[in-house]
Symmetry: C2
Subunit: 340 residues, 2 copies
Amino acid sequence: MPTSKDVAQAAGVAQSTVSYVLSGKRPISEKTRKKVEAAIEQLTYQPNAGARALASRKTRVIGLVIPFIPELHMASIMEFVSVIASTARQYDHDILLVTEDEGAAGLQRVVGQQICDGLILMQVEGEDERLPVARSLKVPVVLIGIPRDPSGLVCIDADFEMAGEQCVRDLAAAGHSVVTVIDWQQEVVDRHVNYVDRFMHGTDVAATELGVKVLHLPGGTNREILADSVDKGLAQTTGVPAFIAPDGTVQDILRRILSSRGLTPGLDVSVIGSASPTLAELQPIPLSTIDLRPGEVSRRAVKIMCQLLEADSLGPHESLELVPTVITHRSSTLRPPHGA
Amino acid sequence: MPTSKDVAQAAGVAQSTVSYVLSGKRPISEKTRKKVEAAIEQLTYQPNAGARALASRKTRVIGLVIPFIPELHMASIMEFVSVIASTARQYDHDILLVTEDEGAAGLQRVVGQQICDGLILMQVEGEDERLPVARSLKVPVVLIGIPRDPSGLVCIDADFEMAGEQCVRDLAAAGHSVVTVIDWQQEVVDRHVNYVDRFMHGTDVAATELGVKVLHLPGGTNREILADSVDKGLAQTTGVPAFIAPDGTVQDILRRILSSRGLTPGLDVSVIGSASPTLAELQPIPLSTIDLRPGEVSRRAVKIMCQLLEADSLGPHESLELVPTVITHRSSTLRPPHGA
DNA sequence: CACCATCGTCGATACGCATCGATAAATTTC
DNA sequence: GAAATTTATCGATGCGTATCGACGATGGTG
């Protein structure tokens, strides 16, 4: 592998000049810049990352802590990972994977060995042994998701409260007076996972404001529980029933349950789910969705991280950013009455 | 951050002694080892990765090139990524993500900058601009999946031919004389993607041997094409129909189509799908599966990589490893007649 | 008891780059 | 036209580790 010294020799300049051509931190004449660039080209020189990190104390690598995954969420996690990696590249950074099975020790390892300049933690919910560690680290940490106690942490997440509001508003506008929310599975609700509570609160706020009745019933992937929730929702509804299923994993099952009850989304029942636009369009009946915009959340997480890195921030930071959600009508919800 | 020099000072030894304690490359007396270890503990010393890489010319990082993903495959990709990352840690290595949107330049970048000691490429199929690059790189490269021309490359993949054979054998043993294979979508078949051809060949080999008739019909996520394939399969079947759906993405739709034709898997139709055991168990009717063992493939890929790194191999390598697939009976296939 | 391995430790150096101070050359100022 | 600036480049140094040769101490041998 050629070194900057080789390049310098080929271009007839000093090694430091090569360095300055690359970094632009000192003025270089057009003439020598050309010479150096030609030499770089010819030798296909690429700076050695290790040496660069050693000298500059920056690795240009961001550690991404990925959660242990109940199988069904994997697809959505990959969406985050993929966008995070691409976005990081746009800021000229790379992504190193840190798996959850290393626990908090993993964070200390990658930071302690200075493999990473900062960390992005995905799907941190409630309590977590890694949170105190995250707070104590001397590198920037960005959380995707909001823990019970976000103090001293930089967090970003979809605006679940807004999402809840949007769903209820939308269904109210379509004429529904009772809305059934199929929540996450009971144990998740009981844990008071932050985003669940926020979503529920959003639905309640809108419901109170609009005089709509909102039922909260447990979701999850268990057919019987889900069927039970649906039936309870139907029983308590007068007029056309409406369902909101913010948990992406229940939708397939929900659809089948409704179908077995003789209900057709968009015709005699409204359904708002959570799915990416492409997936929503692929459904037999294109699904009206509340889009939690994982891609946008990921992009912003990386952006925040890179800004923190740029600022070379010393003291601890704290912030909380919520990404607006987007509701999209497709065929699974009733159309609002004309003129409404 | 403390350095090895700090540790040396605290322990009253030379920096090089600290280094030897850590690497074990020279004998160290019990006494000084204890002293050094105590100092390391006390200072919570961790070696600097950049300096280590610079001096040793090894980063202990493996680049993982993840494919651009048609949405539906994301879950399975995450399975690979997750196991690869965990396994790498077991070999004391880390994983750096290289996204496909950087193309072949991405490979040259991470290798050229010496961020990585080696590369694992996922889901390389057919031709790919990265293959010639992979061959020319001076670091080990392991492919998951087999390209059209695997010469000069180290590849590993599930044994799709074995999988095809196992499926047909199994259905034949259950008494089926006609088996319908719902292939991947037509365009994938037409591209003669390596694993597709291998799977189909496997089914054909077993069919010829056992005197079973095998129909190949297009799959994919389009309901109409799929329904058409199912109907054609049914029309050409005498006796109880049997379907093999090696493409995980078609299974939901296939199930519904069969159901709408009044057929119940395990009762008056046999279905073998491809899914992880956990997912298969979650189905309304637990799905008999051909398991392509992505986790095992991932583990072996990392193992091969680490062996290549250990060997410090100079010349180019070439090998091809196939991971045996596993067929598992659940409730979606007929039971073989007793005594068969 | 002088001689020679062996073992354990030290000091020095290289790895490739960034960066600082210094210097030579070019330009401006009075 | 000499002094004061500015501009472009060079040389030297440090980043933290691995590794090599050297060296003192220890123990065994004749």
